[in-house]
Subunit: 201 residues, 2 copies
Amino acid sequence: MKLYYARNSRAVRVAWLLEELNIEYEIQKFDLGSKEMRSPDYLEIHPMGRVPTLEDGPVKIFESGAIIQYILEKYKNNSLVPSFEDQEFSNYLQWFHYAEGMIMPPMNIIVVETILLPPERRTEVNVKRATKLLNQMLIAVDAHMNNRDYLAGTFSAADLMTGHAVIMADRLGADMSDKPNLLTYIARLTERSAFQKASNL
Amino acid sequence: MKLYYARNSRAVRVAWLLEELNIEYEIQKFDLGSKEMRSPDYLEIHPMGRVPTLEDGPVKIFESGAIIQYILEKYKNNSLVPSFEDQEFSNYLQWFHYAEGMIMPPMNIIVVETILLPPERRTEVNVKRATKLLNQMLIAVDAHMNNRDYLAGTFSAADLMTGHAVIMADRLGADMSDKPNLLTYIARLTERSAFQKASNL
């Protein structure tokens, strides 16, 4: 399998999974936002030039959540996915999807408005509104994490999605001062060696 | 099972699945954006007062993609999910996740800036930028749909997610004039009686 990867992107989620499962993989590494990501060759692989994309023989697949589900199914891995009978199953699914449904939309706006756009094209009200929304989304995760180590019982693929989104929000400067459960959760996740490897490929 | 629902929301995706599978369910219906969605009772069920939420005995779950996966697993339904061995499996996963990963973020901005915000607080540049981005996201779906009836071979749960997002984009005024495959795809989906029922509860 070959993973198209950039640091500080959603590709870290996929690399993190592969490292947790000790699966061998090749990477093609990009600098996030570089011209290479918009080369004709890569646009053949991902029409918007985003990462991650995974190639596995004839299979080409993008969207981090989709790739993670693909790998879990391919390797019939049950250690990172609760069964339907497990009372954490619905939590698992909910927090797996929460990353893209709730956290990343305001995060995207903050990244666009504080990093990607040239200063003269930025709009302060957008940053304020997205920061407020992101804060609400993180408060809900913090509340859920009260007396919990992970989102769905033991460490699971939900932590690869929403856990990673929380780590990125923290690094982007989201206010964590009133979210003690997220601070310990971030520490718990970032001390995992698989996370550390995946973040620094 | 009880579905918290509003017309013209992502709750239609879940109702559509339940109608396709002929599963009985109760609904609690909201008007989208109404005060009732932010009542203390409903905020106990969904911390941001969004729909859909599903209750199933002791289980409470939100995020449309999560609820759809939950129902498919509960009813062991294989008719709407290709197996790993099926060559459409990776397409299925990719387009299942594409809805929230790619289409809905710019859609959210367009809804906020053209419907939810009072006119004096709207920012035209945001609408322009989101419209351009949404158009790119839809072009990729249109390209994929060339010579296809559905996103992953036969009708699948991926159509409930990205298909629904495409229908919503069209209704919100996205330019479909250069996307002939999406126009026929929208017609194919919206003529399904399960979709019609789910849209008009």
